[in-house]
Amino acid sequence: MAVQIWDWNHAAEALPLLAEASVITLQATLLGFLVALVVGLLFAIGRMAGPMALRMAVGGVVEFIRSTPLLIQIFFLYYVMPEFGLTLDAMPTGVLALGLHYGAYCSEVYRAGLANVPKGQWEACIALNLSAWTTFKNVILPQAIPPVVPALGNYLVALFKETPLLSVIAVLELMQTAKILGSETFRYVEPITLVGVFFLIFSLISAAMIRRVERWLNKRMGRRI
């Protein structure tokens, strides 16, 4: 029997289901990144301000999350949380895991951005009698965030590429759908290749978009200074 390497019919059959699944993948990406942005900022603030014990605790948590595999973290959240009486569906668990994991990475980016704001800015605000919160919100953050937007954007792409891991807790994103299609027909070539193509296209588009945002920010920042 001649082995058919690529079957266009099979690919065409797989395409609508994969297109449907890509919505779940994009949802998980955007929600996960939203969690990561918020958690990351909290981690960064916790690591830079507050009492020494809190700083060390947050620093330890961030290093721990960054040094261990996302896959195990997903399993941990999915299987261990119910033991503490907290049962979440697969999708929220996946979003939480992605958000916490990339929050730890984003916190380092925020930290670099915050550290780059000159100390004189804080001192000037004290001289103007602004409260610490007002200073942080109106003076420090607006200067700290724009320069690190491209670095944050890179983590958006990285997070997107890790969403296939959610297939292990049966979230019906692209990879899980491709696996189901493959196991039904015993042909994995088309579904898995199509998933790869989808990721490649999205990565290339978002890389181009990040470059544009970067240029736009540079121009804007350049004018202001």
Binding site: L71, E162, Y188, V189, I192, V195
Partner: protein
Amino acid sequence: MRDFLPELLRGLVITLQVTAGGAVVAVIAALVAALARLYASAPWRWLATVYVELFRGTSALVQLFWLFFVLPHFGLTLEPMVVGIAALGLNVGAYGAEVVRGAIGSVGKGQWEAATALNLTRMQALRRIVLPQAFVAMLPPWGNLFIELLKATSLVSLITLSDLAFKAQQINQNTLRTAEVFSTVLLMYLGLSVLITLAMRALEARAARGLRRGRVT
């Protein structure tokens, strides 16, 4: 914990094998791809660029599954271990290629010019002058990549390799001592990450010292 620890340690051995094998593949792939992109003729340059963009642009899990499920269709059935090492090594190697390229670029242009003045060939200049200096610059990012590789090895559990992640799931299903099992495994990965960091720091200190003395190693 004593009853499942031996099983986990067997998983640890597989994890270490995949990490070590993947690291070797990654370093070789990165060097070849970076040098091809910098110095080779057009077709090789394009091929290297396609490799880097393809492996950086898609997901590690997709690459792993692709090699595992698709290669047999071409009559090429490889051991899961080989597939795991190849897929993860090529994935990390694509990121490493950019690290190598950046490090070579960071070596001052004057170094090339001085080598030309001394009548060294391009190959000699690259091997004796430029690469040793680039080596020191690329060590810290390689440390990060090796940790990424270690974490990515957990994916091989999904192509039936009984590594740490695989054992964790298995023991969890058999004993239902969920919190205990997964916490132990997370700590094991943390320990390995710390070991990689320490080893790379020692290597950096050594390489920097060697460079000051005028030789690397």
